[in-house]
């Protein structure tokens, strides 16, 4: 579980007007979010999350400042498994972002110099 995911859980609880939200997280753990003042009561039906289809693509395993591979990967390019598609820079060092599987890039939400968080999709596949 990352900070980002905890923040999303808090935001979800607030937006649904829930006072408390508890969910299972990896390795048998549980996360409990308690929001002090729920704004209003809501119908249970409205709280049911809408199914979200996870987009396939390349997600980060670190945080850092995005830097392009050389040459830069662009929308429409095909990448192969294990290909280095970009870098995440942390101060003076950089780690490779590698494609876990092959695919064709449909979207590239980040550009060089952007700050990227854990688990963000840096390349979306078609």
């Amino acid at each position: 579980m990352t900070l980002d995911e905890i923040e999303r859980a808090i935001a979800l609880a607030k937006s649904r007007g829930l006072a408390e939200l508890e969910c299972a997280i990896g390795h048998g753990g549980r996360l409990k979010v308690i929001v002090n003042r729920p704004h209003k009561a809501v119908a249970i039906a409205a709280a049911a999350p809408r199914p979200v289809k996870a987009k396939s693509g390349i997600r980060t395993r670190y945080f850092g400042v995005f830097a392009d591979a050389s040459p830069a990967i662009r929308v429409g390019d095909t990448v192969t498994e294990h290909q280095i598609v970009g870098f995440l820079e942390l101060g003076e060092i950089r780690f490779a972002i590698q494609a876990e599987k092959a695919g064709r890039v449909a979207a590239k939400p980040f550009k060089a110099g952007d700050l990227v968080g854990y688990g963000e999709t840096v390349f979306e596949f078609e």
């Binding site: 830097a67 591979a69 050389s70 294990h82 280095i84 870098f87 820079e89 942390l90 101060g91 003076e92 060092i93 950089r94 780690f95 490779a96």
Partner: protein
């Protein structure tokens, strides 16, 4: 051990060179691009002065006979380990039997391969650098040959990473390379035209360019008056003007003294650019003061120290 599979005789073991013995005629030698060697050493947590390989003749191939950690820095081009491409300024680990291949670079002239804890050869006069001209240091004082085997430390695998610090980002090899220089002792004896030309002409590196020095092609630089000079000390970076009027940059393996008038000295912080410029590259010299030269060197060392510190933190976190 690593074994050299493909090489040229101009490829050699280099560290930061021999300092402090210029008075007895011992040249500095050492890496022509000291900055890239230091980045390669910093990436591996080495002493910045650890010995690595300077590759100027391509392709170069070596095989790891044991697991090892290495970094490839300097000139940028196709580099593969067991067929997998490596990004520029990259540190990685090799498994036993894997081959590292360095193709002719697209940008720059010299590639540096460093190894965790350096290459273990006996230091001569306080340095592991090869002095190719005088024939000592490094591996029996000579360049690398096919079949040479070198001692490097066996190391377990690590996650590969690279340097964000990118000195090449500012260089455009299709245009004259900006190089800063401090006016030298005889600068004022050159004619006003010569002094103007020196800092305005785009000087071309001729085919006579090696670890001893580069001859430059351009207009004749004339002296205001005849000058008889005693033989005097010179350093890597000194730009001499022989009677032909065509400047020579003295470099790593240069003699420690000479008698030609000197128009300028390339600053230490920019000497790596000269080391990365092959024949037909062009230089545009900019005059700076000694204070500016020292400040530029301090900034560069600060960046390398910052890289070394970040690597140290990353290694302690990774265990």
């Amino acid at each position: 051990m690593i074994e050299v599979l493909t090489t040229g005789a101009a490829n050699s073991i280099q560290d930061l060179g021999r300092n402090g013995r210029f008075d007895i005629g011992v040249s500095r030698s050492g890496a022509m691009d000291r900055l890239s060697l230091m980045i390669g050493n910093a990436l591996l947590g080495n002493e910045l002065n650890a010995a690595g390989l300077e590759i100027a003749i391509f392709p170069f191939r070596l095989r790891f006979d044991q697991p090892a950690r290495f970094a490839v820095t300097g000139a940028e081009g196709a580099v593969t380990l067991a067929g997998r491409p490596l990004p520029p300024r990259w540190a990685a680990s090799a498994a036993e039997g894997e081959t590292l291949v360095i193709a002719p670079p697209d940008r720059g002239a010299r590639v540096y391969i460093t190894f965790a804890d350096g290459i273990d050869v006996e230091p001569v006069l306080g340095s592991r650098a090869t002095d190719l001209k005088s024939g000592y240091g490094g591996l029996e004082g000579r360049g690398l040959k096919r079949g040479d085997r070198l001692d490097v430390m066996p190391k377990p695998p690590m996650r590969a990473f690279g340097a964000a610090l990118d000195p090449f980002a500012a260089l455009d090899f299709t245009n004259p390379l900006p190089v800063r220089a401090v006016p030298a002792a005889e600068h004022s004896v050159f004619s006003a035209d010569a002094r103007k030309l020196f800092s305005r002409w785009s000087w071309r590196v001729t085919q006579e360019a090696d670890r001893m020095g580069y001859r430059l092609e351009g207009p004749e630089l004339k002296l205001e008056r005849r000058l008889e000079l005693m033989s005097h000390g010179i350093l890597p970076g000194t730009i001499q003007v022989p009677p032909s009027g065509k400047p020579i940059i003295q470099l790593a393996d240069a003699n420690t003294c000479g008698g030609y008038p000197k128009i300028a000295t390339i600053i230490e912080a920019d000497l790596w650019i000269v080391g990365q410029a092959g024949p037909d590259s062009r230089f545009l010299f900019t005059e700076v003061t000694p204070d500016e030269a020292n400040a530029a060197l301090r900034r560069q060392r600060h960046e390398i120290d910052a890289l070394a510190r970040t690597v140290e933190v990353a290694r302690s976190l990774a265990g």
